[in-house]
């Protein structure tokens, strides 16, 4: 399939003697929304930060279109990211914030207004970010991620702070984004959030990827998504899960 995909292979990171991520391997494909699911503290955020060059891995590689993030010619024109460690200055207006990051990323200033429309912040562009609700900040983060019209979107728990209508809006938005041939990778610890919004699922538990494949294959492992999730995140869970093609996942012990 053409397009820019995400390839993560053997990523590992230790913080203060604790394995945050161990041998994480998975792919996210163009044209599909990939959910990155795992319990709190499973290593989702650390993995995404390693993918985006914010945290240096102890081992492994994370490539976007075959290139590490830091080596991309046009990073923000290739990948847009929504992370909790990437914020906006409260004293700036949303327009000022978006224009500043247009300049920093080398994108046309008019993109600031262009991304405001689909993210629903057009009416708030001249308000200071400090007055924004959590949900509005999330929309601004998404708008910032879209400034370079990227081929890949990476989102860490993007629906935090969104109301139910906002969650539905985000799901629809991401689906449409992927439908245009682009890659969407989003993490969540909320099962129901991913139930209707993703095509593929990568499950991470205690720093290790325990399942990768399509959502349909995953739910086939239990009567519900919840049951399948518990199967693959519990200590008693069998660790011989099939991959997307039905093959065992490399690095996952039986």
């Amino acid at each position: 399939m053409s397009g820019t995909g995400v390839e993560v292979a053997g990523l590992a990171k230790r913080f203060a003697g604790v394995d945050a991520v161990r041998d994480a391997t998975f792919n996210a494909h163009p044209g599909r929304v990939t959910g990155f699911l795992g319990p709190n503290g499973a290593g989702k955020s650390t993995t995404l930060r390693m993918l985006l060059g914010l945290t240096r891995p102890d081992a492994g590689t994370a490539l976007i279109g075959g290139v590490p993030y830091r080596d991309l010619d046009d990073p923000s024109g290739t990948v847009g990211a929504v992370l909790d460690i990437a914020g906006a200055h409260p004293a700036m207006t949303a327009r000022g914030h978006l224009r500043a990051y247009c300049a920093l990323g080398g994108h046309a200033a008019a993109n600031a207004e262009r991304v405001a429309e689909p993210t629903g912040i057009s009416a708030y562009l001249d308000r200071r970010v400090g007055s924004f609700s959590t949900g509005m900040r999330q929309r601004l983060s998404l708008a910032t991620a879209l400034l370079g019209d990227p081929a890949v979107l990476v989102l860490d728990e993007p629906s935090n702070g969104l109301d139910p209508a906002g969650i539905v809006w985000l799901r629809t938005f991401l689906r449409e984004y992927a439908a245009s041939g682009r890659t969407v990778l989003l993490s969540s610890h909320v099962l129901t959030e991913l139930q209707y919004g993703v095509d593929d699922l990568v499950l991470i538990d205690r720093g290790r990827v325990t399942w990768e494949g399509s959502l349909a294959e995953f739910t086939a492992h239990g009567t519900s998504l919840e049951e399948a999730f518990l199967r693959f995140t519990s200590d008693a869970a069998p660790r011989t899960a099939p991959g997307a093609s039905g093959a065992p996942i490399e690095g996952v012990r039986a």
Binding site: F15, L52, P75, S76, A86, A91, L104
Partner: protein, 265 residues
């Protein structure tokens, strides 16, 4: 690199920091200097040389130098705000080659430092002229000498701003960084000035070098009068300038190099 500098300028100009920087510069340049110039240095306790002497002009202008920790503090607060508000994450996502981002930041804050220095100098120069006019005396130095003194003060302000940026980039935590800046410039360097033996290195510390650059030896002279120890003689203005530029260069290298490999968490 140009787009990074433009981006960093846009980030800076989107906040109120430049406005407050210039307000603080006007206050620091016009405040202490203006007060001393208006009441007349010879009316101070103890009496100081008047504005009609070169020494008096040097002391009055040099008073602004005592507030040079302000640009350092502004640089520190600006950089630590990036960590506090997590804009550093957005910045490194947009431009992941961190060395270039931090170099662009240093250029931008160097310019802000010069702007601070120019505004502070204009107000200090204005205060001297106003003070001399009020007292009906001629300024004790030719205009060019006064301008050069003010230019040197501007240079020192830019260097202090860069020192502040470097301290902020290293410490990251805002309170800690502010504590380091205030603790060092307000306390530690003054303590070092009065420790026998150690005070010999004072002319080569930032404040000592600034005193040499601006010919401001008022504090070290006062200490020498009060304490039975030999005051370390200040270096020449040129060496003072070189020492300050060396500090700025070292600070810039540290500010660029240290965050390169640090994980953002």
């Amino acid at each position: 690199m140009n787009r990074l500098i433009r981006g960093e300028f846009a980030k800076l100009l989107g906040t109120r920091l430049p406005m407050w920087t210039l307000v603080i510069a006007a206050c620091s340049g016009g405040g202490l200097t203006g007060l001393l110039a208006l009441i007349g240095p010879e009316n101070a306790t103890p009496p100081l040389p008047g504005l009609d002497t070169a020494e008096g002009v040097g002391i009055v202008v040099g008073m602004s130098g005592l507030l040079l920790f302000a640009p350092a503090l502004i640089g520190t607060i600006a950089v630590t705000s990036e960590y506090r508000h997590r804009t550093i994450g957005t910045t490194f996502l947009t431009a992941p080659r961190r060395g270039r981002v931090l170099a662009a930041k240093l250029v931008v804050f160097g310019v802000l430092g010069v702007a601070y220095g120019v505004v502070a100098s204009l107000f200090a120069g204005g205060a001297v002229a106003l003070g001399a006019a009020v007292q009906g005396v001629e300024i004790g130095v030719p205009p060019l000498v006064l301008v050069m003194l003010l230019v040197r003060l501007s240079l020192a302000a830019a260097v202090y701003m860069i020192l502040g940026v470097a301290i902020g980039a290293l410490a990251r935590h805002q309170l800690l960084a502010v504590g380091i800046v205030v603790g060092y410039f307000y306390f530690l360097e003054h303590v070092l000035m009065i420790i026998p033996g150690v005070n010999a290195i004072h002319p080569y510390l930032p404040e000592g070098a600034t005193a040499a650059l601006t010919d401001f030896t008022f504090l070290s002279d006062a200490i020498a009068e009060q304490l039975p120890l030999a005051s370390a003689a200040p270096t020449s203005p040129m060496i003072g300038a070189l020492v300050l530029l060396a500090y700025a260069a070292a600070a810039a290298c540290i500010a660029v190099a240290v965050p390169l490999r640090r994980d953002l968490r």
